[in-house]
């Protein structure tokens, strides 16, 4: 009987010691990223029947498990994805909107405006060389600003493409890590225990992966842990990781010029780019900004440049340059003076291609060469005629674009307003998702995080249990001794 007592004492002692060691593991890892606190689950030892009684046989360790809730984990991953999406959107759109920020500096709107007003000044004094130079200079600034915006948009697009490339590499390395962890977890858990720390590590890798795209995790029918990109397909399945690759893909039916955009696909299926299916996370934000905002702004910018060039030229060509114009016998002006054109002159170079109008916009060679080639008047040999200059200046308020429904300014302001709205929305959404993320994190930490206070209390508890169990052993020893002393 006292052997029994000794065993029960031993089981208590052992359990208390194990609990103590788990507690110290928790304390040691209190600040380890992604660590879930562990707990020793105990149960009563298998009771035995002796005569009429069922007698308890001490304590057994059932398992050591981490405090973890799959739903909370998934919710956390989702909030990470959403928050990273908004963060990256804010980041990218901040840069894009800065291109169009003319609150404290000059921008396209002011510059275009100045150009039209210099035309008005030219209408006052069409014979004045200095005013002509001002018109040319202002036109040059307009050209320069189109180039500035186009260059900046190109730069943003390039940096997004580069970032997509780097992100994909990181995804690949994380996918491999998860695949390896899957294998190790399987090996460790084959005996029935829980690979707590490895599972924590896998969760860390999943959280990191959630930053890039929305992911889904599940165990398939064979118990394999699967990670898939939402709406695309699995990227890790058990011990196997699919590698992603990046390349430029010319979309079918796309009329826009191929700018070598980075598109993502599985390395073993290069013809199926799925970048447009990723709607969330850092990747989703990068792709949306590139495909929606930057591409849209580029199109609007090209429309603007194209419309400005065509409508200005159409009027300008009808006017006569500030040169003596020869007259034929009927009194009609001739188009050339000593092989030089005096009418039908373009103000801007005619664009070759609508989709690259902003890139190629420039002042025509004639105007570059001689400011007197700016035609201010409608009739030949009339230096005071200002009707062309007025007509061009009136383009400012003319509904020229979008098949005659918007003015240059309205269209440009629409673009700027829209990018401002998008950037503002990203910021507000970002604040909201940061709040949600903080909540999800604290949810998780409340469940899984280590509380030093709690561990301190446990330490006292287990120490006491250990001491008590030791006392039981001592008591049983004394009882045994008492029996022994009866023997001669």
């Amino acid at each position: 009987m006292s052997g029994d007592l000794l065993n029960i004492g031993k089981s208590g002692l052992f359990t208390a010691k194990q609990s103590m060691s788990t507690t110290s593991h928790n304390i040691a890892n209190a600040n380890t990223e992604g660590f879930s606190r562990q707990e020793v689950r105990t149960e009563t030892g298998t009771a035995i029947q002796e005569g009429d009684y069922v007698i308890g046989r001490g304590v057994e360790i059932q398992s050591i498990r981490r405090q973890h809730d799959e739903l909370i984990e998934k919710k956390l991953n989702n909030s990470i994805t959403a928050d990273k999406y908004n963060e990256e959107r804010t980041n990218q759109l901040d840069q894009v909107e800065e291109i169009f920020n003319e609150i404290n500096s000059d921008g396209m709107n002011k510059i275009l405006n100045r150009f039209f007003n210099s035309m008005r000044e030219l209408a006052n004094q069409p014979d004045n060389q200095a005013v002509r130079s001002v018109v040319k200079e202002n036109a040059n600034i307009v050209v320069g600003d189109f180039h500035r915006i186009q260059d900046n948009l190109d730069n943003n697009r390039n940096s997004i493409n580069k970032k997509i490339n780097l992100t994909t590499q990181e995804i690949n390395s994380l996918a491999s890590t998860i695949a390896t962890l899957n294998k190790e977890i399987n090996i460790q858990e084959v005996t029935g225990g829980m690979a707590n720390d490895l599972r924590d590590q896998r969760d860390i890798a999943l959280r990191k992966l959630s930053e890039f795209f929305p992911l889904q995790t599940y165990s398939d029918s064979e118990g394999q842990f699967v990670v898939s990109i939402e709406g695309v397909g699995s990227i890790v399945s058990g011990g196997l990781a699919q590698q992603l690759a990046v390349g430029s893909v010319v979309k079918e039916g796309s009329s826009s010029v191929d700018k070598g955009n980075a598109e993502i696909f599985f390395a073993n299926r290069p013809s199926h780019a799925f970048s447009d299916k990723i709607k969330n996370g850092t990747l989703g934000a990068l792709l949306k900004t590139r495909n929606d905002e930057i591409e849209g702004l580029e199109k609007q910018l090209n429309d603007l440049a194209h419309g400005l060039v065509l409508s200005t030229n159409a009027i300008h060509r009808r006017g006569f340059a500030n040169h003596p114009v020869p007259i034929d016998a009927l009194g009609n002006p001739l188009p050339n003076n000593a092989q030089k054109k005096v009418t039908g002159i373009n103000f801007f170079k005619e664009p070759l291609d609508l989709t690259r109008a902003a890139e190629y916009i420039d002042i025509s060679d004639e105007v570059k060469e001689d400011v007197n080639n700016i035609a201010a008047g409608l009739e030949a040999n009339k230096p005071g005629d200002n009707r062309i200059a007025i007509a061009i200046s009136k383009l400012q308020h003319e509904k020229v674009l979008d098949s005659g429904t918007t003015t240059f300014e309205e269209q440009y302001l629409k673009s700027v307003g829209n990018i401002g709205l998008q950037a503002g929305k990203a910021k507000i959404d970002g604040e909201q998702s940061a709040g949600i993320l903080a909540q999800a994190k604290s949810f998780k930490e409340r469940l899984s995080g280590v509380s030093l206070d709690e561990e301190a209390a446990n330490m006292v508890r287990y120490q006491n249990a250990y001491e008590a169990s030791a006392k039981v052993i001592k008591a049983s020893d004394e009882m045994f001794k008492a029996v022994m002393s009866l023997l001669p």
């Binding site: 901040d94 405006n113 007003n117 009027i315 009194g331 200002n386 899984s448």
Partner: protein, 323 residues
């Protein structure tokens, strides 16, 4: 009872501190620039409105410049017309004096010399220019409108200037309209239709009419000749012509007066709308200092409280009480 772990309290402290600090930083930026807007997303609609208002402001500046340009041209023209009226009235008085046959040829010779002078004076006025631009040669501003014989070399075109959005006024009188008597044209007519496809742009240069109607120079020349030839009958006949010429010049003066009035009104309008725009602009972009400072103080107080609460939370532990 909800559990609190080390990490959950640290992350909630971090979140609260980050949020509060971010707000203080934003308010400090606004306080230092005194602008409510620093980038489009601060107020997307306000930003767009601001840009439109600024465009209007720049336009208004240009319109004011145009307006002053027109004012100079017109007042210069008006002065010339005034001078010309005086001269022509003198010529008419002389002609009235000489209309009867009581004067001797000697006297008429002297008066004819005076009329010759008057004709030269009028010619001088007709060829006046501002800078290098002739006032009375239509759009051929660099061509001298009248030669010695009084032949007109300019055209009949008006030079229109936009003095406010879509408001055009002519700033010149063509010599043809002012000095010739056959047709009296109002200078209000002949405005440019601005649509680039309009007929106006397709119009071929106006054909100069072949016959030359009588001009003020012709009248004065005829008067001079009549005096030299001692012919009071012709002088009497010319009185009516001179009268109608004077009347024409005076009418043009009145019209210029009306235009000057329009300019003055437009100027007032532009300045008024400038004031409104300025107020609107300031409402959009300028920060309300008292509100910002108030918010800043409030936010700083919140931050301080957060620090204090955090330090309390982080410094206590059960360990302190176990021995």
């Amino acid at each position: 009872m909800s559990r609190v772990s080390e990490n959950s309290s640290v992350s909630s402290i971090n979140y609260a501190l980050g949020k509060s600090k971010g707000k203080v930083e934003e308010l400090q930026l606004k306080g230092s620039t005194l602008k409510r807007l620093t980038k489009p997303s601060d107020d997307p609609l306000g930003n767009v409105e601001l840009m439109a208002v600024r465009s209007q402001k720049v336009d208004a500046e240009q319109y004011l410049r145009n307006l002053n340009f027109a004012k100079t041209q017109l007042s210069y023209t008006e002065n010339i017309l005034e001078e010309m009226t005086d001269i022509l009235v003198t010529a008419k008085e002389l002609a009235i004096g000489q209309a009867s046959s009581i004067y001797s040829p000697d006297v008429r010779l002297a008066v004819s010399k005076e009329i010759h002078q008057i004709r030269n004076q009028v010619l001088g006025l007709a060829n006046k220019r501002i800078g290098n631009r002739y006032l009375f040669s239509g759009q051929k501003v660099l061509t001298r409108p009248f030669d010695e014989s009084g032949h007109y070399n300019g055209d009949q075109n008006k030079i229109n200037i936009e003095i406010n959005k879509d408001i055009f006024i002519p700033i010149n009188l063509s010599g043809r309209d002012l000095f010739f008597c056959d047709e009296k044209k109002s200078i209000e007519s002949g405005q440019l239709n601005l649509s680039p496809t309009s007929d106006d742009l397709q119009r071929t240069p106006a054909a100069e009419s072949g016959e030359v109607p009588m001009s003020i120079f012709d009248e004065l020349f005829a008067l001079e000749n009549a005096l030299l030839n001692d012919n009071p009958k012709i002088i009497q006949g010319l009185l009516e012509n001179l009268d109608s010429s004077i009347e024409r010049v005076v009418t043009f003066r009145t019209e210029i007066g009306a235009l000057t009035n329009t300019i003055a009104n437009t100027e007032t309008n532009i300045e008024k709308s400038n004031l409104v725009n300025e107020a609107h602009k300031s409402r959009i972009e300028d920060a309300d200092v008292s509100v910002i400072m108030g918010d800043l103080q409030k936010e700083q107080a919140i931050l301080k409280a957060t620090y204090k609460a955090s330090s309390n939370l982080m410094n206590t532990s059960l360990m302190d009480f176990l021995r």
